[in-house]
């Protein structure tokens, strides 16, 4: 299928129902939803459906657990899910034990589970990828401000530590300011950058691990520091991309969510039909790092 | 304590070593002032076991303050209190209770969410062996207690919050009685009781006296003290001015003691020249209580509204005031039909109300006296944008003088005024609206005799100037003293209207019982 990399096998099993469980609260999820829809369109030719089940707008392990419980109650044959949190491993194992394979995408907790496979970006290596880019942009020295989404959110922490551990080990001359928590809020990122610049006029880079990097970029713009201070963050959402064009944002790492959604659904379908295992237990998605050059 | 099983006896064990003839409590030189405002100068008071002392005085004379000091609720600035000849000092009310002093406050304080039985046992509920509340025992004891204070009709299983004010008052009395106190202080306990309830209550007081309890009884109803008390103490301007035996004194004498001048209001023959009908009700009904009430009140007339408790007087006033929806019927003001959906509309049309229940429906407790008085007439005096704050000051001064409101400053919170003075402020509030119709619901509850006659005077004067008054009252003498006519309600129906000439205590009461 278009945008996907895996083809479906011929259905020899009769109708197949796949539940696709995902959240919806910001632009990141739009391509995920679209990928699930594309999978449904594509697989409908094979007598299979992919039902998109919305887990709501508040991301939590409880919502994932309730969603999987609901999908089991509705007797789906397989589940694609965005588990994100550590606490989802138990219910994933339970589903697997009941003979309903679960395919994790985007992000999963650190606790191992018996999912069929995980496709997505490893948050720590994504952090490292960004860390390498930061080091390059900063010439290995200077001050880096760090804004993380939620203290204690695994994915955010891993992205943060992936970068910071790398930098500390390899570029000891880069001084870290923070981290501070912005609760995924752009306005909070804005204020934090303002205050960071006050206390550290020589700051040259800001790394936002989760929501709201464009708020940091806007602060850079309003302070008239475009070109002097750069912001790096995640996801090709329109508000982020805008500042990539104007130069406050100097790097954005993408997770290819559309492709993840589509490929995972098809692989799960294939597994349900003829037992084709996915290529590996962990299918890494290497993020595409966009820089201002890419949008010029 | 009855919770220890001694429900039936109403007495205290005699305390060893104390001569029965010595005073139970001796207060000397009690002084108290609030923020420089001297309330008690130097009050001396002796109380003996087995004696009922009536404490009289105008509103704000300091009666409640003195009682708060004796019971530990307030600390005196100077003076000493001895119990059984021993100097005593109560830091808190709980200390006082511990020492056998029970104080039934002027303001109601039952716990509405609990049942009557639970209220009576709060603080020391009996337990079953399993550790649960022993509801059966509690009910039985509650019945006994309620009977003791003449309130046998109250079901102990009822939620206290749904009861009438009078019934709640009786519960508080029963609660105090249950502690078998050595000294029982009753601050205006009868102001919301029916005549029948008052009888039962008196019986209890006499029984407690016989059992050796010292009792202080505060009231503004002189007939009651003359009937019940052994000794009458009058407090004026923060000092004790007289002590008399009931048999050796008169109403008039007591009033002079209290006010410094003889004051009593006599009905003055008045002609009501204006035949305009100011307020007319036609077959007025509310949702559940009133049935087809038709009534006309002329401009400048003072119309009484009498009925037994539950007759529906409050409901009727509320319907006229727009606080209660009119189910059917018509109300007209000076011939123009009106249908107020909210009291604010009524006030705008010149109908002001002095509500029943000062604490719950009257005052704004955290507001100053001045703001309390001004609240109804804010819109009347406001400029285009701003409230007339300066005008409030002068108006307040004016009404303080006209109503004789006793206070230190008009910026003090109204809750620091004495009960009667609070009521006068609510009165001032209504008059500031410059209403054409004034609705009064038990307007003189807790108001002293002097102030009562002041208020009657004011009402009569305003009526003379064309104000139409509709006054609900439970006190027949009040109706006789003030009203040109009286409408009598009985169980939500209009039992009849009596003109001045037809009015007599007997006829009024007979008609009030018509539907019973």
């Amino acid at each position: 299928p278009e945008g996907g990399t895996v083809a479906a096998v011929e259905n020899t099993k009769g109708p197949i129902k796949i539940a696709f469980l995902s959240f919806q609260n910001n632009p990141f999820w739009t391509p995920v939803t679209e990928g699930a829809e594309a999978a449904n369109d594509y697989l409908s030719k094979f007598n299979a459906t992919v039902d998109f089940v919305d887990l709501g707008n508040e991301l939590s392990a409880e919502a994932v657990v309730a969603g999987i419980e609901g999908a089991l109650a509705k007797q789906y044959d397989g589940i694609v899910v965005v588990p994100i949190f550590d606490g989802t491993a138990r219910i994933i194992d339970e589903a697997t034990d009941e003979g309903v394979p679960v395919f994790n995408i985007v992000a999963e907790g650190a606790t191992p589970s018996n999912r069929l496979a995980f496709m997505g970006q490893d948050a720590t290596s994504a952090g490292k990828q960004i860390g390498e880019y930061i080091a390059k942009k900063m010439d290995g020295k200077g001050k880096l401000g760090v804004i993380t989404g939620y203290f204690g959110a695994t994915q955010h922490t891993q992205r943060m530590n992936g970068a910071l551990d790398f930098l500390k080990a390899n570029y000891p001359q880069i001084e870290i300011v923070g981290p501070f928590e912005n609760k995924d809020k752009a306005e909070s990122a804005y204020s934090l950058v303002q205050d960071m610049m006050t206390a550290n006029p020589d700051l040259s880079m800001v790394y936002v691990t989760a929501g709201g990097p464009f708020g940091a970029a806007k602060a850079v713009k309003d302070l008239g520091l475009t070109g002097k201070v750069g912001v790096v963050g995640f996801d090709h959402t329109p508000d982020n991309m805008q500042y990539l064009k104007t130069g406050e944002m100097v790097g954005l790492l993408d997770q290819a969510p559309y492709q993840q959604a589509l490929d995972a659904s098809v692989m799960l379908y294939n597994y349900l039909v003829d037992g084709t295992e996915p290529p590996s237990k962990v299918i890494p998605v290497v993020g595409k790092l966009l820089t201002p050059q890419d949008v010029q | 304590m009855y919770s220890n099983g001694k429900t039936s006896t109403a007495g205290n064990e005699p305390v060893a070593g104390i001569l029965p003839s010595g005073p139970l409590l001796r207060a000397r030189g009690i002084a108290k002032s609030f923020a420089g405002n001297v309330v008690l100068h130097s009050a001396d008071l002796d109380l003996y076991p087995g004696e009922v002392v009536g404490l009289l005085g105008e509103n704000g004379a300091g009666k409640s303050t003195l009682m708060h000091i004796l019971s530990g609720g307030l600390q005196p600035d100077a003076g000493t209190v001895e119990m059984h000849g021993q100097p005593t000092h109560f830091n808190t009310v709980l200390d006082g209770i511990e020492a056998g002093i029970s104080f039934v406050h002027q303001e109601l304080s039952v716990i509405g969410a609990l049942t009557v039985a639970e209220n009576l046992h709060l603080g020391h509920m009996p337990k079953t062996r399993a550790g649960f509340v022993d509801f059966q025992k509690m009910r039985d004891e509650a019945v006994a207690l309620l009977n003791r204070v003449g309130a046998g009709g109250i079901d102990p299983r009822h939620e206290a919050g749904t009861l009438r004010a009078g019934e709640q008052q009786l519960i508080e009395i029963a609660k105090a009685a249950g502690r078998n106190p050595r000294l029982l202080i009753l601050d205006e306990p009868t102001s919301s009781l029916t005549p029948h309830e008052v009888e039962g209550f008196f019986a209890y007081v006499r029984a407690a006296r016989a059992a050796g309890t010292a009792i202080i009884f505060i009231t503004h109803r002189l007939e009651e003290v003359l009937k019940l008390c052994d000794r009458l103490v009058v407090l004026r301007n923060g000092a004790i001015v007289s002590e008399r035996r009931p048999a050796e004194t008169t109403r008039q004498q007591l009033i002079t003691d209290m006010t410094g001048k003889p004051a009593i209001y006599e009905y003055r023959e008045r002609q009501i020249p204006d035949k305009t009908v100011a307020l007319s009700l036609q077959r007025v009904r509310d949702r559940d209580h009133l049935e087809d009430i038709s009534l006309e009140v002329r401009k400048g007339e003072i119309m009484g509204l009498f009925g037994l408790v539950g007759a529906g007087r409050t409901e009727l006033l509320e319907v006229i005031h727009g606080a209660r929806p009119l189910a059917s019927g018509k109300i007209a003001l000076f011939g123009t039909p009106v249908s107020h959906r909210d009291p604010s509309a009524a006030v705008r049309n010149g109908i002001a109300l002095v509500p029943e229940g000062r604490k719950t429906a009257g005052i704004l407790p955290q507001h100053s006296v001045r703001d309390n008085a001004a609240i109804s007439s804010l819109r009347r005096f406001s400029g285009r944008l701003f409230s007339d704050l300066r005008g409030d000051v002068t108006r307040m001064e004016d009404y303080r003088d006209r109503l004789g409101i006793r206070m230190a400053r008009d910026t003090q919170p109204i809750s620091t005024l004495s009960g009667g003075n609070q009521q006068k402020v609510v009165f001032a509030r209504a008059l500031m609206v410059d209403p054409s119709i004034l609705l009064l619901d038990e307007p003189t509850h807790g108001v002293d005799v002097g102030a009562k006659s002041d208020l009657y005077e004011i009402v009569a004067r305003e009526a003379e100037r064309g104000l139409t008054v509709l006054m609900a009252s439970s006190e027949v003498p009040e109706i006789l003293a003030l009203c040109d006519r009286v409408a009598i309600l009985s169980k939500g129906r209009l039992a009849g209207i009596l003109s001045r000439e037809e009015m007599s205590e007997d006829r009024i009461l007979t008609m009030a019982f018509m539907e019973h």
Partner: protein, 314 residues
Amino acid sequence: MSQSLSIVRDLAKHREASVLVMLAAVAIYLAFASDYFLEPRNLLNVGRQASVVAIVALGQALVIIARGIDLSVGSVIGLSAVVGAILMRDTGSETIGLLGGLATGLACGVVNGLLYTRLRINPFIATLGTLSVARGIALLLTGGIPLPFGGFAEFVGAGRIYNIPVSFLLMIVLAIIVHIFAVKTVTGREIYAIGDNPKASRLAGVNIRSIRLFVFALSGLLAGLGGLILAGNLASADPNLGVGYELDVIAAVILGGTALSGGRGSIIGALLMALLNNAFVLLGISAYWQVVTKGLVIIFAVGLDGLQRRGDDD
């Protein structure tokens, strides 16, 4: 503030019946709209999903009845789970872990109670403070990284007895206990008394300080239990566990009609919310409509009886 809290209490009186009607309406609708709704398994899922909010709401209900409010429950859930997991890991003893988790909840509750009764800090502010402090401590203890949490706790959180979720059973049992406690014991009655009129209660000899301390302690304890159940269910003690639960819990209490609740009410409120979430998953309602629907159902559930009770203000 205590004013607005007392209004919360007052208006919650009639509520219960109308929320029950709403609960029934949603359930009946679901029974027709989804073939899976009435399956015992699904119904039990709903019960389990309601259990944590309901259990925590039991304590919160008593706090609210006594005119307090406890905003810290969400953070206490997280902190208790984390402390439990750390103790379990370090001592190797499940019992110590579980007791430690409960003790943590209790300790948080006691702190709240002392801030209120001793330092006289408005409970809204005091518990807003502990909300932050408890969450911060949970983060400090774990360095922000979730800990595994298994064994008996997992059984409580996720296990089943005769196919009935243990946490659901626990919720029922606790609700019955709390209800009996509130209605039949002296302390229970005194809680109602101080909620209604603290001053009169004190003069009647009720020790209002210790009663207030008690309700906050109980609320903390139950939040601690909630934390263990939640972490047990997820087999993971996340320092961010329970973030934002305070509003859900308070909503459950008020939906359930505090005044009557002693226990019943809280469950009804929590069930309504769990049922809604179940409906969203079963019917596949889109996220944004879920948000709208949730709000509308809450408003209607309570608005129903407002429609009949026209006419009287305050």
